[in-house]
Symmetry: C2
Subunit: 177 residues, 2 copies
C-alpha cells in the first residue's frame, strides 16, 4: 500500500521531467492518459502546470471535475505507458485493458494507480491559460509513495516512442532546493 508522502518534497518527483500518467473520474468512468508536458510552479503547497490536450477525453474530465491524479510510473511500466498513450478512453476501458489497479484517494475521485511508485492527488486552481494553451494549474493536495519500490527509474520522452531511462546519479554541492 502507498504511504503518505510529504507535500514539501513533491517537486523532487516531478522536477526531473518524468513521463507521467494522469487519471480522471467523470460520469461514472475512470480514465488514464500519458503526459510529458508538465512543470513545477511552486514548492509548497506544490503547484504543477500541465498541458492536457483539448482533443483528449481527459481534458473534458479535468475541466468538468477540476480534479485528477498524477501517477508516476517506473521504467518497468514503459510498454503500458506507451499503449495508454496510443489509444483513447472513448474506445477502451484503459484500466481493465492494461491491468492497472485503481486505488481510492483521500481528496479526489480520480483513482490512484497501484502499480505507480508515486501518486499525487490534484485540484485545479487556475484555468487562465486553458483556452489558449490547454494548460491547467493544479495544486497537489495529497501525495503517496509506494515504499516497496525502493529505487524506481523513470523514463523521459524524446519524441516518437524514443525514451531515455534514468541513469547514474550524481551529487554536487548546491544551494538550490
Amino acid at each position: 500500500m502507498p504511504k503518505e508522502f510529504p507535500l514539501s518534497k513533491v517537486y523532487q518527483l516531478l522536477e526531473p521531467g518524468p513521463v507521467v500518467l494522469l487519471t480522471t473520474a467523470h460520469k461514472d468512468a475512470s480514465n488514464v492518459m500519458t503526459m510529458s508536458w508538465h512543470t513545477m510552479l511552486d514548492f509548497e503547497p506544490p503547484l504543477v502546470a500541465c498541458v492536457v490536450s483539448e482533443g483528449d477525453m481527459s481534458f473534458s474530465a479535468v475541466r468538468a471535475t477540476r480534479q485528477c491524479v498524477i501517477a508516476i510510473p517506473s521504467v518497468e511500466l514503459a510498454e503500458k505507458i506507451v499503449k495508454i498513450g496510443n489509444c483513447s478512453g472513448r474506445e477502451v476501458d484503459k484500466f481493465e485493458t492494461f491491468g492497472l489497479t485503481q486505488l481510492k484517494g483521500k481528496h479526489v475521485a480520480a483513482p490512484l494507480i497501484g502499480e505507480c511508485f508515486a501518486n499525487l492527488e490534484c485540484k485545479v486552481v487556475d484555468t487562465r491559460l486553458v483556452n489558449k494553451y490547454n494548460l491547467f494549474v493544479f495544486q497537489v493536495v495529497a501525495a503517496w509513495r509506494d515504499p516497496k519500490q525502493k529505487d524506481p527509474k523513470t523514463i523521459h520522452h524524446c519524441g516518437y516512442g524514443h525514451f531515455v531511462v534514468d541513469g547514474k546519479k550524481i551529487v554536487l554541492e548546491s544551494r538550490m532546493p
Copy 2:
C-alpha cells in the same frame, strides 16, 4: 559552430526535462541562470513555459527585454551548472567566472552558450501568469545545435544537488509525436 536546428523538433530537446541554462542581456550586461522548471506548451511554433524566480536578476532582465536564450548543457558541464545556480549575476560576471563562451544569436540580444549542445532563442509571448507564478511563456524563434556533440547526456534535478543523468535509451512503437 552551432548549426540551425528545425523548430519542429525543439520539443524533443526540452520534453525530457533536462536542467537548462537561461541567458539574458540587459543594461550592457549578460547573465546566466540555472533552471529546471519548464515545460513545452506547443510543438510549432515551439512554445515553452518557464518559471524564472522573481528574486533572480534574470527575472527583471526577461521582463524588461522580453527575450532570453535557453541553452541545454550536457553532463560534462554539471559542476558549472550547479555553480551558476549557487551565485548571482549581481555579484559576479558568470560568463567570465565559469569560462563560458558567448555567441551571437540571430534574433535576440541574449547570448548563446558555445559549450552547450543546443541553444534556443526565445521571445516572451504571454505574461498572464507572471505576477502570480513567475511563469513566462516563450516562443522559440530560432534553435541551434552543435553537431560536434553527437550524443549528449543531459541531467535532471532531483533536489539539493542530487541529479540523475540520462541512461539507456529505449524505443517503443508510439503514435505520439
